[in-house]
């Protein structure tokens, strides 16, 4: 099955800019389905980005982050061709991870 994670990591000068788009419903727990029942909260809690064995960015998300969530950040110390590991875990304990190459 295809990964839920899409990454664009581009090294420019000494800074690498990372954009991530993750396929996830991010249900807030405030929305009802067509039968009138509340759709329970189901959202990513933590997204971790690692390079060279170090965590370079951590996203701590609540249900107010949009569906199919997006985040952008940048960090120093990486080069084109390096690996960037991204992993997430949600409130139901589901998870996914991806290793992307920095362009």
């Amino acid at each position: 099955m295809a990964s839920t994670i899409r990454i664009r990591a581009i090294a420019g000068g000494d800074t690498t800019e990372v954009q991530a788009l993750i396929q996830h419903p991010m249900d807030s727990g405030f929305v009802k389905d067509s039968s009138g029942n509340i759709i329970p909260p189901h959202h990513i809690e933590v997204v971790q980005f690692e390079h060279g064995g170090k965590t370079v960015f951590t996203a701590l998300w609540g249900p107010a982050v949009s569906k199919d969530p997006y985040v952008k950040f940048s960090f120093k110390g990486a080069q084109k061709g390096d690996d960037l590991t991204v992993s997430w875990v949600d409130n139901k304990g589901e998870s996914d991870s991806l290793v992307a190459k920095i362009q």
Binding site: A2, R6, Q19, A20, L21, S66, K67, Y70, K72
Partner: protein, 281 residues
């Protein structure tokens, strides 16, 4: 300014409203020019190719948000899914590509077309389901999910290509075009709006809180990921919801009238680039 706009709109409507008996006198080329001129004169600062960006060609603050979302747009998942579907053969071993010119790649700008054998307008979505059925597969729901993934991928392979909708020299094709125009300008529903009421008379203005897109190029970004839907939707989905919003009874997806109005609108956007798939509020 308002009076000039009203006059221009009235002139456009009169140019396009043909009595039934004079159907053979209809002149799509003249309509095309009148339609184009109406929008370019009303919005002189909007570059012609920008009309395909709908409300974003009309409002700077909205556009800024759109540009940020387009940096990494949520329809990417649908495009990837569509690509995967294209690469996956049917049970009988054929693929979607076998049903289309150029293996289905970079052809979206030629749809819809008038099929002289079938005597009706065939949209891309209908062509895809016909392909499925011809190969022993069940048709997809026209409004979202799998159908939207396929058309998102096909639109993506045609991004930037110019619409090239043809009206063959066939009275049935002309009749379909005219029917599409008629549908577009006819009022309907409790709110008694026509498509033109919003998209010809009031583009750039607000209806409740949405900024209205101009009719010129309005289908160029299809299918779209709407934040409102939290997902993808096709031309069918949008036509149905628009009808519901003016409190008119919606037609079935890909009803003849819907196909004809898509034909009319697509012809009117000839020469404009495919901008799909799109992100919208």
């Amino acid at each position: 300014m308002l009076r000039a706009t009203a006059l221009a709109f009235a002139a456009l409507f009169l140019a396009l409203a043909q009595p039934a008996a004079a159907a053979s006198a209809s002149d799509p080329a003249a309509d095309f020019k009148a339609f184009r001129d109406y929008f370019t004169r009303r919005f002189p600062s909007v570059p012609l190719n920008d009309f395909v960006n709908g409300p974003y060609s009309m409002d700077a603050d909205l556009r800024k948000q759109w540009v940020e979302i387009e940096e990494f747009p949520p329809y990417e998942f649908a495009v990837d899914k569509g690509k995967e579907m294209f690469a996956t053969p049917f049970k009988n071993g054929n693929t979607y590509g076998d049903c289309f010119p150029n293996k289905g790649i970079g052809i979206r700008q030629n749809y819809p077309y008038f099929d002289t054998k079938l005597g009706q307008v065939i949209t891309l979505d209908v062509a895809l389901n016909r392909c499925r059925e011809a190969n022993g597969e069940q048709p997809f729901d026209y409004t979202k999910d799998d159908m939207a993934a396929l058309t998102a991928y096909m639109a993506y392979t045609s991004r930037g290509k110019l619409f090239d909708i043809k009206i063959p020299d066939d009275p049935r094709a002309l009749a379909a075009y005219e029917n599409g125009a008629k549908y577009f300008y006819a009022r309907r529903g409790q709110l008694n709006f026509s498509c033109a009421s919003c998209h010809v008379q009031s583009p750039g203005e607000h209806i409740r809180t949405e900024v209205l897109a101009p009719a010129l190029g309005i289908l160029a970004a299809m299918p779209i990921y709407r934040s409102e839907w939290g997902g993808m939707g096709t031309v069918s989905r949008r036509f149905i919801t628009c009808n519901s919003q003016v409190r008119a009874v919606p037609l079935a997806p890909e009803d003849e009238n819907y196909r004809d109005v898509e034909y009319y609108l697509s012809y009117m956007s000839n020469g404009l680039p495919v901008s799909g798939p799109g992100a919208r509020p």
